[in-house]
């Protein structure tokens, strides 16, 4: 397979992928803490959600997740979706750990096996090189 990425670009792609994962995990954590402190379940009315975003923790989580969205969009322009998607799936494992250690959630043995399956599946897929075929170069 032809390597279309120069070495520095490949390293930057991997660092950006790490940033994407961390922003996702911290954003999810803050958002969950905030949403659980809001009394009553959400309805289908969008106003409920806009009002919920005024909660400091929900707002902070939302900002982190917006940054996650923007950095992920940039990552999508650097590499294929089939590379970006599995790399960011590391966040699934972090979510289970955060749920277990910080949110007092019960994570069963079956759930942990599932978590490790996702970890190995993700690591396996991440071992493949990011491919930028079909992506024209723009200004940096």
């Amino acid at each position: 397979m032809t390597d279309l990425l120069a070495a520095p670009s490949k390293a930057r792609t991997l660092w950006l992928a790490l940033l994407v994962v961390l922003l996702n995990a911290s954003g999810n954590f803050s958002l969950t803490l905030g949403m659980r402190s809001i009394p009553g379940a959400m309805s289908a009315n969008p106003v409920d959600y806009v009002r919920a975003m005024l909660h400091p923790l929900v707002a902070f989580g939302t900002i982190l997740l917006i940054l996650w969205l923007l950095t992920r969009m940039a990552l999508l322009s650097w590499a294929d979706l089939s590379f970006v998607a599995p790399v960011t799936a590391v966040g699934y494992i972090l979510a289970a750990l955060i749920g277990h250690f910080f949110l007092n959630e019960t994570v069963s043995v079956t759930n942990w096996i599932g978590t490790f399956l996702i970890f190995f599946g993700t690591a396996f897929v991440s071992a493949t090189k990011p491919n930028t075929a079909g992506c024209k170069r723009g200004s940096r």
Binding site: L16, N28, F29, L31, T32, M35, R36, I38, A41, M42, Y49, A52, V58, L65, L69, L70, M73, A74, L76, S77, W78, D80, L81, S82, A85, P86, A89, Y92, A95, A96, I98, G99, H100, L103, E105, V107, T110, N111, G114, T115, F116, L117, I118, F119, F120, G121, T122, F124, V125, S126, T128, N131, T132, G134, C135, K136, R137, G138, S139, R140
Partner: protein, 119 residues
């Protein structure tokens, strides 16, 4: 209720990602510095598919907000990994990206993991 919210998250996320990927490939590589992000924001406003992808992401986000309120985070996030398997499939079929056997096997492992986590 949590399964309905999950279904909304999965479908909206996949549609949003496909539209994003299609439009970002057309626009070329983007920098992540301040100027690059400003250019990215300008692009979002001027491109129809990117705008539509933001609408899908918003729908997905609202459903996720409701889901983490009623279900464990250790369920909500891993269960939404169904989007990843569907995305890999659609990346191959719709975006015509190369998805080799290694990536396909990895996707299947993740799918198995999600099934176990959702039980």
């Amino acid at each position: 209720m949590k399964w309905l919210l999950l279904a909304i998250i999965v479908v909206a996320t996949v549609l949003g990602d496909l539209l994003q990927s299609y439009e970002m490939k057309r626009s070329g590589e983007q920098a992540v510095d301040a100027r690059g992000l400003a250019k990215l924001l300008r692009m979002i406003v001027s491109r129809q598919y990117l705008l539509l992808s933001i609408v899908f992401m918003a729908i997905s986000f609202f459903a996720f907000m409701a889901l983490v309120q009623i279900a464990p985070l250790s369920f909500a996030v891993p269960a939404s990994a169904a989007t990843f398997v569907l995305e890999t499939l659609l990346a191959k079929l719709v975006l015509k990206e190369q998805v080799g056997p290694r990536r396909a096997a990895g996707a299947l492992l993740v799918l198995g993991g999600v099934i176990l986590l959702a039980r």
